[in-house]
């Protein structure tokens, strides 16, 4: 059975850090169109700090403490809205994974659900407002259905990626009603949401790295 231990998890976060660095300009370009133009730079700074912190961390078998460390690092270093949002997400995922040496499909789903709930709580947001939730919520639903159907973790995460891709495409068709983009009203139409895009990027890295 495929599982995710803390070592593999750290590798995934290193891969996310590289990916975000690679896509920094793209994310910032998306955010310049409908936001304050800092999403790529902020997230790259945050995950760079995450990778550095994880490399200094004493070996820890607890997946929960890895996730918590990631969350706290993001809150402290990102500087934009994605800091408290992703930070809360990983801290909540860490809280439900506390004491687990590895996450199986069910454990991963529990962590993912807690993360998405964390984003909803922190952002006081729901799907349909052109935010990262428009990628995360469909991804979470797909993950749940796939795992309930007996798929292994990697397959389930790929299905979540597909759902998140559709979610990102959907954000192009709606008007932003949360976040900085909401000040643009109808002018936010036609642009994909940077937060939903970074959520998709991260999910894809997880699927590829598993």
């Amino acid at each position: 059975m495929m599982t995710l231990d803390s070592k593999k998890m750290i590798k995934i976060f290193n891969n996310i850090a590289s990916k975000v660095e690679e896509e920094k300009a793209f994310l910032t370009e998306l955010d310049t169109a409908i936001g304050d133009g800092d999403h790529g730079i902020n997230l790259a700074r945050g995950f760079h700090a995450v990778a550095e912190k994880l490399s200094q961390m004493e070996e820890d078998d607890d997946t929960g403490s890895v996730l918590k460390t990631v969350g706290m690092q993001l809150v402290s270093t990102v500087g934009g809205a994605s800091g408290p949002l992703y930070g809360t997400a990983f801290m909540k995922a860490g809280a439900v994974s506390k004491g687990k040496r590895e996450l199986d499909a069910v454990g991963f789903l529990a962590a993912f659900e807690a993360a998405v709930d964390g984003v909803k709580m922190r952002g006081k947001a729901v799907p349909g407002e052109k935010t990262m939730l428009d990628a995360l919520c469909p991804a979470c639903d797909a993950l749940k259905i796939s795992i309930a159907g007996g798929d292994d973790l990697k397959t389930a995460v790929w299905k979540a990626v597909e759902a998140a891709e559709k979610g990102v495409a959907f954000t192009k068709t709606i008007i932003a009603t949360k976040g900085r983009a909401s000040y643009l009203g109808e002018r936010s139409l036609g642009h994909q949401d940077p937060g939903a895009t970074s959520s998709l990027l991260m999910l894809r890295v997880i699927a590829e790295s598993l």
């Binding site: 304050d36 500087g79 934009g80 949002l85």
Partner: protein
Amino acid sequence: MVGIVVVSHSQKLAEGVVEVSRMMASNARIVAAGGLDDGSTGTSFAKISRAIDAVYSEDGVAVLMDMGSAVMTTEMVIESMEDRRIRMFDCPLVEGAVVAALEAVMGSPLEVIEAKASEARLTKKIME
């Protein structure tokens, strides 16, 4: 005296709000927590934490924010200081800070200051 922290994405804006507030309340315990540590725009968990520490007393601290991550980051700082008396004010940043600084200097308690600062949103600048 209630302490006041002004949180903004911009260091200059936060410092400017403090400057304007001190025009009428020079003795107010009001500090700025704007921008990131290197001075660039954004909101910093560490800066907000330090600012609260700097003006904290048993009378409590009022935090006024501009928007978005300023609100969410402040929320997380307050969650990390569970046992303290800290309130986030939902009010216009400049007018709210001026009112809060005045009330604080006059010795009003945190709840009263919050009510007054919140009223600032209803004050019209141009009379019909």
